[in-house]
Symmetry: C2
Subunit: 211 residues, 2 copies
């Protein structure tokens, strides 16, 4: 009589994940393993074990390993975009916004080291080049917010050298270089990170922006 009799008593199998609920479980497990063990260390089998399903089950929800990774990267970039947009909306001097964005960018990279490297230090061959369309689109929106702020500086004639684009790209690249090296060469005898960040920001802004 009771409808609860339907419960799968005999089944030792995990209950169904109700579609995209299971997808979320996989992403969560995959993110932890990817971030903890890197691309090579995070095997499909490990992720599947963590979720409690067979390795094959992951191919129900993702085309291949790269697609899982890319979805994790997307989430990271979305955070970056949100952060940039929030700063862009502040009612303060454009130069101050530029400095805040660069600083927040470096903080983001240092606080999400593996996600950052997966997105911005992507070794050729790790991800199949063409599947990255969605991720790249997100990155472009991120850059658009950034370059928009630099354009404001150019518009008020405070760019000391270069175009808005080349200045924006140089500043971004410089900050990227600092965090990328800090992350990939952690054993190098670096000056204190805080000092490096300040020197970088001061140098860039003094070098590229006039008052």
């Amino acid at each position: 009589m009771t409808t609860t009799l339907k419960k799968p008593q005999r089944s030792a199998r995990k209950p169904k994940g109700d579609g995209h609920l299971r997808r979320g479980e996989i992403l969560q497990a995959a993110e932890r393993i990817f971030l903890a063990e890197g691309y090579q260390g995070a095997t499909i089998r490990k992720i599947a074990d963590e979720v409690g399903v067979s390795s094959t089950a992951l191919y129900m929800h993702f085309r291949d390993k790269d697609e899982i990774l890319l979805e994790i990267c997307d989430r990271a970039i979305e955070l970056l975009l949100k952060q940039n947009s929030e700063i862009a909306a502040r009612p303060i001097d454009a130069v101050a916004r530029v400095r805040l964005m660069l600083d927040a960018y470096m903080t983001f990279a240092l606080e999400n080291p593996n996600a950052y490297q997966l997105v911005f230090c992507g070794h050729s061959g790790i991800v199949s080049e063409d599947k990255q369309a969605a991720t790249e689109a997100l990155g472009d929106r991120c850059y658009a917010v950034w370059v928009g702020t630099v354009r404001e500086i150019a518009a008020i004639g405070r760019l000391r050298t270069g175009t808005a684009d080349s200045a924006a790209q140089s500043m971004w690249a410089a900050c990227h270089g600092l965090v990328a090296l800090l992350l990939t060469k952690p054993t190098f005898h670096w000056a204190p990170t805080a000092e490096l960040r300040v020197v970088m920001l001061d140098g860039l802004l003094y070098g590229l922006v006039t008052d």
Copy 2:
């Protein structure tokens, strides 16, 4: 009668490599494949095929795949060191030498893209962390030449901000960031490379060095 009878008619095997001569052949093939196909694409079997020996033969000359890669990296860094030393020895202004070194550094990276990425964008996990001793020592010598030149600038009181170390590291990191992004994100809508390099160098030197 003729001593040439000894020739290995029946043996389809490649003649012996006379010790370290074969080692050179392997490195040459490996370098091409590593640079063309990246770390994952360059398999032991492909390299061995290219040389014309079995995959096992490579283990006669190298402990494992990473050791081959590291030796290639060493050669690249040696070039960089030689280049830096040559500039350091020129009888010109220290600031001019700093600019030349940074510019040559970027040229080197763009002309040896894969070697550069293998050395300076090394994903954690690709190489086993501890075997890199020799390579890192070379890198340190490279850095020593670089920081020595920046110290000269600090010594004559022309450093606008930061210490010699933090300034040297910031400038290096900034240039690294530019070439690293140019190499890893070739599809991005970059400003002309030449302009980016000039903006970067001008910005850095104006921002960090006084006249």
